[in-house]
């Protein structure tokens, strides 16, 4: 394999690991946070319904978590016109904290009082939901770790050995398996988003190039007609009896057309320069290229 090809493949391979830097659209981030808050509110209402049938398990933690979920939903609704990654991440993290605290408060009670308690089901579900809805990679990863690590620590240090042996003999391995699966799902999701963004960027770039090429062809066409008029006019001036005044008038009009095209190109060139300067160093250089292409199109329309 030759050097440049190998270097390109290495660069491509390295780029594939940049999925953690992927920034979802603000709307997607907002939607993920909203669904997570809604899931907290509704899920905790179901938890309250379960808790009511089990004496010894407090309904207070799920009630508080459901209220927190509703409040976060309200915040997201109020701010819906100005969605931002920062707010979406903050709300998602607060929501995760609220669910984790509620579950930590009731896990041991469930283990003691519920017959046939399936250990840490809600924690495992939380891991998967975080992987599916997290508004940013790091927020999702921290949420998954918060669910898993809190459950593991609680299980290891706060569950009496008798309860551990009785209700969860296989733990902590299932929690770790769910945590790992959730992290892989999160990686897969953000890698997919990275590829989608890359495809969209390449499409936009190709679109801009095509528009520029079309604009260039149209400009050539606009310039070549007056040039042709001048060519035939000079030939007729030399070789025919046609009135020179009419011919010269046509030449004047053609020169004027060429001047107008030139002025439009100069104006467009200045606009391109200013846009390139404006976007220089930012990620929107290709947007500037696309805008220039659109501007060039407008010259000939």
């Amino acid at each position: 394999m030759c050097g440049p090809v190998r270097a390109s493949r290495v660069a491509h391979f390295a780029q594939a690991f940049n999925f953690y830097k992927v920034c979802l659209s603000e709307r997607d981030a907002w939607f993920g946070a909203t669904l997570a808050a809604l899931f907290n509110a509704l899920g905790m209402l179901l938890e309250i319904a379960i808790v009511r049938k089990i004496p010894g398990v407090s309904a207070k933690p799920p009630t508080v978590s459901a209220l927190v979920g509703l409040m976060l939903l309200l915040v997201l609704f109020i701010q819906r016109k100005r969605p931002s990654h920062k707010w979406a991440s903050l709300v998602f993290s607060l929501n995760t904290a609220s669910v984790v605290i509620a579950l930590l408060s009731t896990n041991l009670q469930f283990a003691v009082w519920q017959r046939n308690w399936a250990p840490f089901q809600a924690i495992k579900l939380g891991c998967l939901v975080a992987a599916i809805l997290a508004p940013a990679f790091w927020v999702g990863l921290l949420s998954i770790l918060a669910y898993c690590v809190s459950a593991l620590l609680q299980f290891e240090f706060f569950f009496p050995p008798a309860i551990k042996a009785q209700v969860a003999p296989d733990e902590p391995w299932p929690i770790l398996a769910f945590g790992l699966a959730a992290i892989l799902a999160l990686v897969y999701r953000f890698r997919g988003a990275q590829l989608e963004q890359e495809v969209a960027r390449i499409r936009a770039h190709n679109f801009a190039i095509r528009r520029l090429a079309n604009a260039s062809l149209n400009i050539r066409d606009r310039m070549n007609t007056p040039l042709q008029v001048i060519e035939i006019s000079t030939d007729l001036l030399r070789n025919s009896n046609e009135s020179p005044k009419q011919i010269l008038d046509r030449i004047d009009r053609s020169v004027q057309s060429l001047r107008e095209i030139n002025s439009m190109l100069v104006r467009q060139e200045k606009a391109n320069e200013s846009q390139t300067h404006q976007y220089k160093g930012s990620r929107r250089v290709k947007d500037a290229a696309a805008n220039s292409a659109l501007g060039a199109d407008s010259i000939v329309e």
């Binding site: 066409d221 070549n224 035939i232």
Partner: protein, 128 residues
Amino acid sequence: MTKEAAVVFLDDSKDLRELMSVLLESTLGVQCMCFGSLMEFENHPHEVLRAKVAILDINLGPNAPDGLDAFNWLLDHGFSGKILFFTGHARANPEVLLAERNGVEILEKPIRPDKLISFVSSALNEAA
């Protein structure tokens, strides 16, 4: 415009239409009927279809039917003469390239008048 023309010319530039008419009449002695749009072209089917040579510009202005539409109209109506495309950016269009492979001549603007006359003259001879 009522006289039978040997050449029909379709171009959106008024100056070029007038010049082409004068040039062909003064050098080849043939009548050239000029049109500024496809609509005008289609409104004179008898004159157009009887011509020996059709010279078509491709770009006939923004949002207007182009020379390729005129080309297809000629084929659909059984035009038996020679067709020349006369345009500023012909070779970028795949349909034009396809037409070229089927024997349609492409003249790129700006072309020297003597060459233009020579092409039209050859086309007239071939059509005859």
